[in-house]
Amino acid sequence: MSELMPVLLALTILVGGVSLAAVITWWERRLLGFWQDRLGPNRLGPFGIGQVAADMIKLLFKDDWVPPFSDKVVFIFAPTAIVVAMMMGFAVVPFAPNTYILDVNIGLLFFLGMTSLAVYSVLLGGLASNNKYALLGGLRSAAQMVSYEVFMGLSLMGIVMMTGSFSLVDIVEAQADTWFCFSQTLGLVVFVVSGIAESHRLPFDLPEAEHELTAGFHTEYGGMKFAMFMLGEYLGLILISCMIVTLFFGGWMVPALIYDWLPPFIWFSVKVFLVICFFVLLRAAIPRPRYDQLMSLGWKVMLPITLINLLVTGAILLKMKGA
C-alpha cells in the first residue's frame, strides 16, 4: 500500500491540476464578468460550468496546423515545455502532512528552476513561429521573465534564513506559530509581483499585448497547441498560488484561534482558492503598464527593495539570537 501511495498521489495531482486549470478558465471569466457588471459564460450546465467541457471538445477538433514556414520540431516542442515545467513544479508542493511527491533539501530551488524553464517555451515558440509578431512577443517575454527571475529567488531568502532550510516541508512547519506573511511582508509583495510577471498574466502580460502584438509569441499557434500554452499559464497561476500559500500563509497550517475541525488539505485548498481569486481580481483592477515602465520597475525598484529586505532581516535575526 505504501508503495502505491506516491503513484496514486502523482495521478491525483496530474488529473487535479489539469482539471483545476480548466475550471479556472471558466471561474476567471465568471468572476471578471461580475466585476464588470455582466454575467460571463452562463449557458451550458449549472452556472455555465459546462463551458469548460465545451471548450475542451472544440479545441480537440481544431486544425492541428504546423506552419510550413516554421521550424517544425521546435514549434511542436515549445508548448509542451511550459506544461511539463509547470507540472513538475507541483512535485515539491506539500499539500498536507506527508502528502507530497518529493521532499528534498533543495525543494525551493527545484521550484525556482522549474519556473525558470518556462521561459524556453515562450522564447522557442516565438522564434520557431517565424512570424514578426511572434518574434517580438517572444523576445519581450524572455527579457521580462529573465529580469523578474533575478529577485524572485532573492525575495524568498528571508524565509530561508529564518528556517535554515530549502525544504518546503520544513518551511511550512516553521510557520506553526507565526506565518511568514507578517515577518516577511516585503518579501511577499516582491514575490507576488514577480510571480505575476513570471507567469505573464495581466497586468504584466506585455508579451501577448493584443493591441500591439496580436497575440505575441503564440500568434501562429492554434487548436490544442495554443491550449497547451494556456494550460501552462493557468498551471503556472495555480503553482504560484500554491507557493505563496506554502511560503507565506502557513501551507496546511490552520489559522490561529480557529478550532481545527477540517483536514489540513482543505485548509490548504481554501487558501489557494483565495489567492487565485486575488489574482483574477487584480486583472480586473489594474491596467497594463508600458514595457519600459515594467522593466524599470523590476530593476530599479524591486531589486533594491529585495536586497534591503535581506539585509534588514539578517540584522534583526542576528540581533534577536544574540540577545
Binding site: D63, V84, L307, L317, G322
Partner: protein, 140 residues
C-alpha cells in the same frame, strides 16, 4: 546513502513519466481528431490580414541583449546569496558583514547600470542620455 536517495527520487520519475504521457496524448489526440482544411491563405504567416513582406529575421533592439547580459551577471550573484542564506545562523555576524560588502558591490553595479542609461529603452546617445534629455539640458 545512495540507496536512500534513490528511494526518494522514484516517485518523481513516475510523475515525470505521467506528465510526458499527458502531453503526448494531448498532441496525438488533436492530430487525429483535428480537421484538415487547406485554403488559399491557410499557409501564410498571420500579420493581421496584411500580406507578409520579407522574412521574420528582423533587426532587434540591443536592449534585449543588454538585459540578457545583466541577467547572467545578477543571477550568478544571487546564487552566492542563496548559499549564505541557507547557512545564515552558522555564519553569524562575520558572514553578515561579508555579505553586506558583497551586496554593496552588487548595488554599486546596479547604480552604475542605471546611471549609464543601460536600462533606458528607446533612442540613446553615447553618453547614455536620451535624445530629449540632451535637448532640454536635463541632467541624470
Amino acid at each position: 546513502m545512495e540507496n536512500q536517495y534513490a528511494n526518494e527520487i522514484w516517485p518523481l520519475a513516475i510523475y515525470f513519466g505521467m506528465v510526458i504521457m499527458l502531453v503526448v496524448t494531448m498532441l496525438a489526440l488533436s492530430w487525429v481528431l483535428g480537421q484538415k482544411r487547406r485554403e488559399a491563405a491557410t499557409n501564410d504567416p498571420f500579420e493581421s490580414g496584411v500580406v507578409s513582406v520579407g522574412g521574420s529575421q528582423i533587426r532587434i533592439s540591443v536592449e534585449f541583449y543588454l538585459v540578457a547580459i545583466f541577467f547572467v551577471i545578477f543571477d550568478l550573484e544571487t546564487l552566492f546569496i542563496f548559499a549564505w542564506a541557507v547557512a545564515f545562523f552558522e555564519l553569524g555576524w562575520a558572514g553578515y558583514l561579508s555579505i553586506t560588502v558583497f551586496i554593496g558591490v552588487l548595488v554599486l553595479a546596479l547604480v552604475y547600470q542605471c546611471r549609464s542609461g543601460a536600462l533606458e529603452w528607446g533612442n540613446k546617445t553615447r553618453t547614455g542620455l536620451r535624445e530629449d534629455q540632451l535637448t532640454t539640458g536635463e541632467s541624470t
